[in-house]
Structure formats: structure tokens, C-alpha cells
């Protein structure tokens, strides 16, 4: 076998915080050959991105390489002069970031940004590289490849932007591309397009790639080999198929097992029983733009209704109508058989108490200047009037319900909690009001899979114990499969299909449900290939539109 393109040996990286250097990567080795794709997976904080950047000889501010070597095509990057590194980056090594929207300069057109690297490195002239851009846009199956480059980043969709970013990384035909979670922020249906495009282009140009993600199913489609990281240590590395079929380490197996969590569906509620919450013919609009059209659905006592759909489908708007933040233009919200006032300001304290909400981003949902006890204590005090010792006891009780040790966590600020713990505090704050109905708005989508699973289990336990009803807004069908009793599928502000979970996952479906379902990546490494074949090879974007 020829010498590897990228050779990392015994790499130690550390980051500075609180005046000390803390290890981030502990002695990792890595080999990557030409045309090979290596998947890097692990939870957040595992050091995936740091390792990815280190493969370019680069570290973020406040991070340094303590020892070890990164050798790219025989060039030692760690000790190389800055000028040598500069001549490689963008030309022979390229980087695709998680958020294309944040990585493009919003003030320049796509094609000008495309041409920047090749012109800078003297690979091509401006004219030449723009012609080349059109060619690459075509290969990445961007719509209207002749013209799309002349748009500004905000004028194209998220998935298109991510593909344009991949094209940009390809502009100098690098030998190595580092993809840092390129599809994490995208919807399942868009994700497929990007995945297929990246895979094709990497194959066509025989480029080596490091693909960083926390989604196992995605990495199974993309990578030839997988390396698992845990807190900066390498857990194991193997060929993709081998790794999927037979993980050696305990930690890897636990990662694999996450997807197995599935709660049995509860029996259907008999017809004619008054639902806890009824959304009856609700239409709503932001200003003059209509977003919801005549939406109906019921949520029964003690059940979980999952509302699924792509971004922009009106899921969250429906939640805003229920909470009264956005009064509907038509239709009513009934709670326990009574119509609720449309505006939250006109609802009684008790009506407000009954409906609580858990937010997607725990970071913005918890006031950063308050301690956990204050955050949870306020609704308790506000609704029940408890004070002093009784209040403290109730807060401790709630902390125990969300499985956080009261002694340790009572006086912490949100910034001193991990993502999963923050989300638990968000749950406790909702529980503190003693509600009957909780809206969970994408509560697990910002979390790692292991942590997300813990949250889902917690919610399920609480439901059994307290008889809560959930409206579970999500775009992740794996979550739906795990926790829902009933499913409502939304698209462009309308409900396209609804019913019991088990029925929904069994054909026949509505065409759109089918598209959603089939777009969820599976652990089978051939899944993407098969799916593309099934949908008709060639233009996947078109195939998706045809189905609708």
C-alpha cells in the first residue's frame, strides 16, 4: 500500500481555560489514504472538530498542539512555517463548516467567493474559475447552475448553500477535505441531497475526506472507515461494515444501542371522549403571510402527539397558537372542552398554568443570571404561593424528579450545566407549574444522541407518573418512533396526515409522509445507494419534488 496522504502520530492537543491547560486530544493516531473517507464520530466535547482542524495543522485560539506530528503528503504541518501552511490551506486541504450560512460572507456573491481560493493560490484565473464553478454546481446538482453563483448567500436555501460550500471547497481540487458536521443543521429531506452530492463529488475527484458527525446513520453512508472518539481518546477504529456489524468496545455498542429505544404505543382513546386539547380549524398568519391553514388535531389525556414536518411547515407556529403567543385568525383552541381565549394576556392564571412549554435551545430558555433553584422556584412560588422551607422542599423534589442531585445542582447557574442538564432544568421548570399539558419544541434536537435518549426516557417516565400529555414537535422521525402515540404530519401549514404511530410507520402513506420516512438515514451502509437507485438515479432533488 502506498504511503498515506495524511499521517497523524501521537497527537496531543490541549486547550486553555481557567488559567490551566486541559487536554482535548490524547495521543490520537490517524492514517488517511488518497480517495478514502474517514468518519469521525463521538459526542460533543469528544474533540472531533479539534482533531479535524488539527489535520490542517490549525488550532483555534486558546488551543495548542502539545506534541505529536501531523504529516500531510510528507510535509510536517505542526512545525511548518506559517507560509507553508498558508500555501496548502484552501489549495490542497479544504474545510467545510457546519453552518454554511455563517461561513459565507453575506456581502459577496457565491461565485466570487468560489473564485477566491483558486485565484489567490494562482491555480486558475478568475474567468476560468468561474466557468469551473458552473461546472461544479452542475455536478452537485444545484438548480440553475449557470445563474446560481451570481446570487448572494441569503438568496439560496440552506441545503443549496451547503452544496455551494462543498463546491467552494472543491474549487482548487484539494487532496483532502474536512467536513465538519455539514448536514447537522438541515432537514432530513435536504440532508439527503447534500449527502448524495458530497459522496458523488468526493468519488469523482478521488479526494480524501474526513467526515465529522455525531449521527451514526449518516457516517455509515459516507465513510469507508470509522473512528470513534470519547473525551479525546480513541475508542476504536474499523472498516465501516465491520464496525456496524460488530463493534468491539462497550462505548461504541452503547452508541449503537441508542436507536433501539422505542416505547410501545398506548391504546387508542375511544371515540367520543373529550380530548384534553383540541385544535379546531386554526389558521394563522405572520402579518399578511399566512402560515397555518385550517389545522385540526386532538391531544388526549396522557398521550404523546408528535407533530412532524420540515422547517417552515408550521409546527412551531401551531404551538404558538396553542400557547396564545400568536392569536389565530380563524378557529379555536379548546382545553378540556372549553375554548381558550386566543391571546395569552386574556387567559387566567390557571389556564396559563395548565399549558407549559419546553424549548429547543435550553441556552436561551433559561435566564443565565439565575440559579437552578431560582429558575425552578419562581413558577412554584408564582402559582402556588409557597415560600421559605416549603418552597425549598418542592424545588428539591422537582430536582429529584429530573434526576439531578439537589445538593450539587441547586445553586448552579445555567452556564455551569451541560446541555442535557440544562434541558432537564427546562423540564423541571415546566413541571413546577403542575401542568396537564406540555409542549416540547424540538427538545432533543440540539443534544447528542445518548443525552437525547436520556431526556426522552425521562419524559416518558414523567408521563407515566404524572399523567401528562405532550405535544412533541420534531423533525426527527427516530424520536417520533421512540416516544409518540399519535403522529401529525404537517407540510406548508397544513396537516397532510395524522393517526396512530404504528399505522403511520406502516404503508401506505401519503406521498409526503413517505418522502419524510424514506429520508431518515438508516444504519445500513447501502441505504443511501439503494434509496437513490429507488428514487431514480440522477437528479435527486428532482426526484424528491416529483414525489410530492
Amino acid at each position: 500500500m502506498s504511503a498515506p496522504l495524511l499521517k497523524i502520530r501521537d497527537l496531543w492537543i490541549e486547550g486553555r481555560s481557567d488559567e490551566t491547560w486541559n487536554p482535548i486530544i490524547n495521543g490520537v493516531n490517524l492514517d488517511l489514504h488518497r480517495g478514502e473517507v474517514l468518519g469521525l464520530i463521538g459526542e460533543s466535547g469528544a474533540g472531533k472538530s479539534t482533531l479535524g482542524l488539527a489535520a490542517m495543522g490549525f488550532t483555534r485560539d486558546g488551543v495548542r498542539i502539545r506534541k505529536g506530528s501531523v504529516e500531510f503528503d510528507g510535509i510536517e504541518l505542526v512545525k511548518a512555517p506559517a507560509a507553508t501552511r498558508r500555501s496548502l490551506l484552501g489549495k490542497r486541504i479544504a474545510y467545510v463548516a457546519q453552518s454554511a450560512a455563517a461561513s459565507f460572507n453575506p456581502a459577496h456573491r457565491l461565485i466570487d467567493q468560489y473564485a477566491e481560493a483558486p485565484v489567490q493560490h494562482g491555480v486558475m484565473g478568475r474567468k476560468e474559475s468561474q466557468a469551473d464553478a458552473v461546472e461544479l454546481y452542475r455536478r452537485l446538482r444545484l438548480p440553475d447552475p449557470e445563474e446560481i453563483g451570481f446570487r448572494y448567500p441569503h438568496q439560496v436555501s440552506g441545503g443549496q448553500l451547503q452544496r455551494a460550500m462543498t463546491a467552494m471547497a472543491m474549487s482548487s481540487r484539494p487532496d483532502l477535505i474536512i467536513f465538519d458536521e455539514p448536514t447537522t443543521a438541515l432537514d432530513v429531506t435536504t440532508q439527503i441531497e447534500v449527502l448524495a452530492a458530497i459522496r458523488d463529488i468526493v468519488e469523482q475527484f478521488d479526494t480524501a475526506a474526513i467526515y465529522i458527525t455525531h449521527d451514526l446513520a449518516v457516517v455509515a453512508q459516507m465513510a469507508d472507515r470509522i473512528k470513534v472518539l470519547l473525551r479525546g481518546d480513541e475508542v476504536e477504529e474499523a472498516e465501516t461494515r465491520e464496525m456496524l456489524a460488530d463493534p468491539k468496545e462497550e462505548y461504541t455498542r452503547s452508541l449503537w444501542a441508542v436507536r433501539a429505544y422505542k416505547r410501545p404505543q398506548k391504546p387508542l382513546v375511544p371515540r367520543g371522549q373529550t380530548p384534553l386539547l383540541r385544535v379546531d380549524g386554526v389558521s394563522a398568519s405572520y402579518g399578511r403571510t399566512p402560515v397555518l391553514h385550517n389545522v385540526h388535531f386532538d391531544i388526549h389525556e396522557g398521550r404523546t402527539v408528535a407533530v412532524v414536518g420540515e422547517s417552515g411547515s408550521g409546527k412551531s407556529t401551531a404551538a404558538r397558537c396553542i400557547t396564545g403567543l400568536l392569536p389565530p385568525t380563524e378557529g379555536t383552541i379548546e382545553f378540556m372542552g372549553e375554548a381558550l381565549p386566543a391571546d395569552y394576556r386574556r387567559r387566567s392564571k390557571d389556564q396559563l398554568r395548565q399549558i407549559q412549554m419546553i424549548y429547543q435551545m435550553a441556552d436561551t430558555a433559561l435566564n443565565p443570571s439565575k440559579t437552578v433553584a431560582q429558575l425552578i422556584g419562581r413558577p412554584v412560588q408564582f402559582y402556588s404561593g409557597l415560600r421559605g422551607k416549603a418552597l425549598r422542599a418542592r424545588v428539591d423534589d422537582l430536582l429529584e424528579q429530573i434526576e439531578l442531585e439537589p445538593e450539587t445542582y441547586r445553586d448552579r447557574l445555567p452556564s455551569e450545566l451541560s446541555g442535557g442538564q440544562k434541558q432537564r432544568v427546562g423540564i423541571a421548570r415546566a413541571l413546577a407549574a403542575e401542568p396537564r399539558f406540555i409542549i416540547c419544541d424540538e427538545v432533543t434536537s440540539a443534544l447528542d444522541q445518548l443525552v437525547a435518549e436520556g431526556i426522552l426516557r425521562l419524559l416518558a417516565n414523567l408521563q407515566d407518573k404524572l399523567g401528562l400529555s405532550y405535544m412533541f414537535i420534531t423533525h426527527d422521525l427516530a424520536t417520533v418512533r421512540a416516544i409518540a402515540d399519535e403522529v401529525v404530519v404537517m407540510k406548508e401549514g397544513e396537516v397532510v396526515e395524522q393517526g396512530a404511530k404504528d399505522d403511520m410507520f406502516r404503508p401506505p402513506h401519503h406521498a409526503y409522509t413517505d418522502l419524510l420516512l424514506s429520508s431518515v438515514p438508516e444504519m445500513d451502509p447501502d441505504w443511501l445507494t439503494n434509496l437513490l437507485a429507488e428514487r431514480g438515479v440522477g437528479n435527486i432533488g428532482e426526484a424528491a419534488t416529483d414525489k410530492m
Binding site: 486553555r16 396564545g324 403567543l325 395569552y344 387567559r347 424549548y359 436561551t364 435566564n367 443565565p368 443570571s369
Partner: protein, 386 residues
Amino acid sequence: MIIPLALALGLLVAPLVRWSGRRLSGDAPYWRDMPYGAAYGYVLAALALAGSAWLYFVNGNVFFRWGVQGFIAFAIAAYLFRLAGRHIGTGWSRRQFRKMPLTASFGILTILVYAVVAIFAQWLAPYGQEEILARANLVPGGDPALGGDPGFPLGTDQIGRDILSRLIYGAQNTVGIAFATTCLAFLLGGTLGFLAATLGGWLDQLLSRLMDVLMAIPALIFALLLMTIASAWAGSERGLLTLYMVVIIAVIDSTRVFRLSRAVGLNIVVMDYIEAARLRGEGLRYLVFREILPNATAPLLAEFGLRFCFVFLTIASLSFLGVGIQPPLADWGTMVRDLSQFINYAAFVPLAASVPLLAAGAIALLTVAVNFVVDWMLHRSSGLKE
């Protein structure tokens, strides 16, 4: 002539320095990756250092010497103060002092000294602020051979008032009034700003446009105009005029505070935790004071420091122009104006020329000190690391 020459010389020396650095260190990355611009910068810094040394030791420029000596003295004082803070006080304050940069401890020390001087002016000042003493135009320093008097360490002004006493009383008047004015401006601007951000709608429009109108008029000229009117109202009542001044400056400055607190408030109001509080049914007061205010303290504190300096300077300028704090009350702005002729003697009697600089220096020192503290607070609250 010598400066352009030095600049050109540096241009030649810089590559040489970088080259010899590479040779001597065995091509260490630090020297190897150093851009020529940075090398030139180091050379210039070295030249500036040499120039200062020449100015200090050979030329013997008296003001430069005072500056350097003052700087060193203050640095030592700040260091000792921080050292003391690390060993005395509660656990919380000790922790604060442990992470404190020297600039911040200098700032806190200076502010403390000013506060003590302002509060205890009556007891600290050797004479009254309005007291006219025997001899006018005494040179500071207290050396009879140079025209001073040991009884008046900082000399006397043209009509024979003790300058040290007036400086001390000036702290009380100028700083005290500036502080009261800033507080009032923040109370006014902050409350209205948060209200506008939280309630939005027509109230926001009304308040914002009103503030725009006020801001459209140049601040100092507006203040002068209003002060002229106010002095007509106040007549001969000096205390009343001072009160008017406080209100006028507070209103003018509250427009800036309004702008800031509204902008900060708008960023906080869109957060999910505010939505959660609204959905809980919380009242306006809770929203503003418990949810928004704690998260807006960092930018507001920073603005408070800056605003305090501006108010302070406005008062000094108004006094300098003759409509601010009225004589015979001591005020640093007035003192700079009254004593400014002494500057003309700088070439002959440096000591005499330093008199107006004392008041100006007092203003400058406080401004710098406040900004040091504010910088530190901002740095701390934004959670920046190194």
C-alpha cells in the same frame, strides 16, 4: 528631523534584527514566522524606549519626569492595593482581587481615594474653598527660594485662595454632582428604554422619536441654551441653579442611555426565557427588573462608567464656559479656566505652569481610572478568557 530619520533607520534595522534572531535562536518558529512589519514594530518600540530614557536622564524634561515618576508610583500603589485586597476581606472580595489585572486595582484605588477626599473634604482641606488668604500667586512646591510657602504646598491662585483646598472641595462639588447626574440619567433613560423594549408598539415609537428629537440638537449647545434659561429662573439662588444643571444634563444624557438600554433590552426580550415568563403570566415589573435587568447589567455598567466621564466633562466644560458651577464654589473645570494663564510661564517656571494641570490632571486621572474599572467589569461579565 530626528524622528523621520529614526523611522527610516528602523526600516533598515528591522530585517537585520529578524535575521540575527533566526541565526541566534537556531531558526525558532517565533523568529521564523515573524512578519517584517512586526519586526519593524519591535525596532520602533526599542527606539521609543531609548528616546524616553534620553528625555528622562539627559534632557531632564521636568514634566516628563513627573509623568514617569507618577506612573511608577501609581503602579506600585496599585500593586500594593491588590496585594492587600488578596489578603484582607471576605472570601468573595479576595477571589475578585486574585483575578484582577493591575489596571483595575489602580482604577478602584483611585476611585476610592477620590471618594474619600470628596466625602471628607471639610476635614481634609486645610482652608475653606472661598477663603481668601494673605498672598496671591504663590508657586507650588512650598520652597521659599522659588517663590513658595510651606503653608500652601500647592500654592495660591490669583486672588490668594489655597489651591490644595480648592482641589479637595472641587472633588466634592464636581464628582458629587457628576455622580448624582449620571444616576439620574440612568434612572430616567434606563427605565424608559426597558419599557420601550418590553412593551413595544406605539409607546416605543413615541419615546424613540422623542429621544431622536433631543439627540438631534448638539448636546453642549443645548445644555448652554437651557442653562441660560435656567439661570434666569434661578435668579441669585446658586443652589437652585446647580439643581437645574443636574436635571438638564441628566435629561440630555438620558437619551444615550435610553438608546443603549432599549437596544440591549430588545436583544433580551426575544429570548425564550422572557417568553416563558410572559406565558407564566408575570407582570411588567417582574419582567423588567427580574428577567431583563440582571442580564443587562454588564453593558449598562460599562455605559455608566463612560457616561459618568462624559457628564463630568460636560460639567467641567459648562463651568469653564461660565454657566456651570458658580464661583466661589470650587470646581475643577472653573479652576482650569481661571488658572490657565499660568501655562504661559511654562518655559521659565515649570512649577507655576503646573497649577492648571493639577485640576486637569485630576479630571483625567478619574476618567482613566473609571474606564479601567469598567473595562475589567466588561471583561469579567462577558466571560472572555485571556
